[in-house]
């Protein structure tokens, strides 16, 4: 894959699981009857004896994964992000995070793009919920390159990890030498009028906005922040102190996710002007996802407008 290719992160997730499974015999994959969608099914084809089809029973799936982790296996338990956060919240908190078990949780179809399934299948609060659980690491990678690296990083991490993967095609923005590290952000574009902090599939939109803003005479720093817990406080404080005007852009509710996490750091460490772009505390709906990004004020034009406003 090369920069600019359109690849769905979920596909990168499935491919990475297979690659990981080849080198690590302790990796097992659990599915709740959505593997053909999340792409964890690729692992079943490669390693059927290490793939556990749990049926439409997410609570049991996460409990089984916890039990497997107690014997030293590295389970990847995968379903849609909406079911991770809403349905299995208690199991993830008590059976996985509280005993610090090394279960890797994949929340696929995060945010708006779900195949037009609508509100019931659009997780806008999964990052907020997972971030609030002690011991949990929370990652929303952007492109296929980063998703692959995040799968390997999650497996190497001793504790529980929540890894969100997008359904739709996302432009590849990282080259093959990109190094992913849990908790570390990246400045993808330098600028000093406004800082745009993004993750998930919003980072390519933030980069597009940065290019448009440059033509408009506004210099935007684009910070990609794939890990929202632990969050890269230094990068946020640095942007606050050198620029003082920050926009967060997330495929999620503005409550409790990237915007919430950045707001907390700013409020405590270095107050700065902040605008949060994201879903503004409402349920989703069916429809073309780009149309919904526009409707909810989350498209490239919205980022540009917010940046022009705050940079003025």
């Amino acid at each position: 894959m090369k920069i600019g290719d359109m690849i769905a992160p979920r596909k990168a997730f499935g491919d990475a699981l297979v690659e990981l499974g080849r080198i690590n015999p302790g990796v097992v994959v659990l599915d709740a009857d959505v593997g053909t969608s999340t792409q964890s099914i690729l692992f079943r084809e490669a390693f059927p004896e290490r793939f556990f089809q749990c049926g439409i029973a997410e609570q049991n799936m996460f409990g089984m994964a916890a039990g497997m982790a107690t014997l030293g296996l590295t389970p990847f338990a995968s379903t849609f992000a909406c079911f991770v956060a809403r349905r299995a919240a208690d199991q993830i908190s008590i059976s996985i995070a509280y005993p610090k078990l090394g279960v890797k949780i994949n929340g696929s179809y995060g945010g708006i793009p779900t195949g037009k399934a609508g509100a019931t299948h659009q997780a806008f609060e999964d990052m907020a919920f997972m971030r609030a659980i002690p011991n949990m690491t929370v990652i929303a990678p952007s492109d296929a390159v980063e998703t692959r690296k995040a799968v390997f990083a999650a497996a190497a991490h001793p504790g529980p990890v929540y890894l969100r993967t997008a359904r739709c095609d996302v432009p590849v923005i990282f080259g093959p030498d990109y190094e992913f590290e849990i908790g570390r952000s990246r400045i993808l574009r330098e600028g000093d009028d406004v800082a745009i902090i993004a993750n998930d599939l919003m980072t390519p939109k933030a980069l597009d906005a940065g290019r448009i803003l440059e033509r408009e005479g506004v210099s935007a720093r684009v910070i990609h922040m794939p890990t929202i817990k632990p969050i890269d406080e230094a990068a946020i404080v640095g942007a606050a102190q050198t620029i003082g005007r920050i926009i967060t852009v997330e495929n999620h509710s503005v409550i409790g996710g990237l915007g919430g996490a950045v707001a907390e750091v700013l409020a405590e460490k270095s107050p700065a002007r902040l605008v949060r772009l994201g879903v503004r505390d409402h349920f989703g709906e069916s429809g073309d996802y780009e149309a919904l990004f526009t409707k909810y004020g989350m498209n490239v034009d919205s980022i540009v407008a917010a940046a022009m406003e705050i940079a003025r």
């Binding site: 409990g63 994964a65 014997l71 908190s93």
Partner: protein, 285 residues
Amino acid sequence: MSAEAQTCPALDAKELDRLRGLCRQARIDLLRSIANAGAGHTGGAMSLVEIVTALYFRVMRVDPARPDWPERDRFILSKGHSSPGLYAALAARGYFPKERLSEFDVAGGMLQGHPDMLKTPGIDMSTGSLGQGLSVGIGMALAGRLKGLNVRVFVLAGDGEMQEGQVWEAAMYAGFHKVSRLVLIVDCNSIQLTGRTDETLSLAPLAGKLEAFGWRCVECDGHDLADLVPALERAVAVEDGPVCVIARTEKGHGVSFIANRVEWHAKAPTPEQLAQAIAELEGAK
């Protein structure tokens, strides 16, 4: 074969006497720890005393000196609120000194209100939110099989706990996939927090439900060690599917004024009640 897979003495009158003595002492110890804390789930802790004693002193292959031994049998107290009964058994078995039972429910102590595998030696899984233990037990049994370890898993649930939906997701999985070396023990003490289980949300017919899910079920007297021990040993020897041991018990068993009373679900004895209970238990020798 490890030294811990030892041959137990025959389950004769002498051995039964020994086990009964351990149970009597466990009830005294758990009541003391609850009274010391001024909090704890007395009734359910007392109903499972024979079950955990049978497991830790007869049935399970464990080594208290090596609580992390990879091939040990696993135990999950899915009804985690009954922890004082488990702690008393673990202390008696030598996982930690009995004096440490006084740390139960004490801030900074080793013994949490609900079992914490990161704080207490011998606890194989943290529990407390009801309904979660069986799923974890299935994961352990499957992981043991995948890793080629002869791990056998025992999950102890309450009868009220069987009202949780997750239990039935797990039961469906274990039955359909014939997960063996997995024993679910249901401590059927017939009482839950607000009332009698049959009046709250009846599970009847519990065996029939589980059998429909692909399980074998055996019923036994959960306080009669001569009945309970062989039932557990036979259950874990079944190689082609999961087995449920439905243990008929009495909540608060062993002390006249605690036994079979709804109000003792989560009440701690006063110092006077503790003294009276200990006198009763010691008098029963």
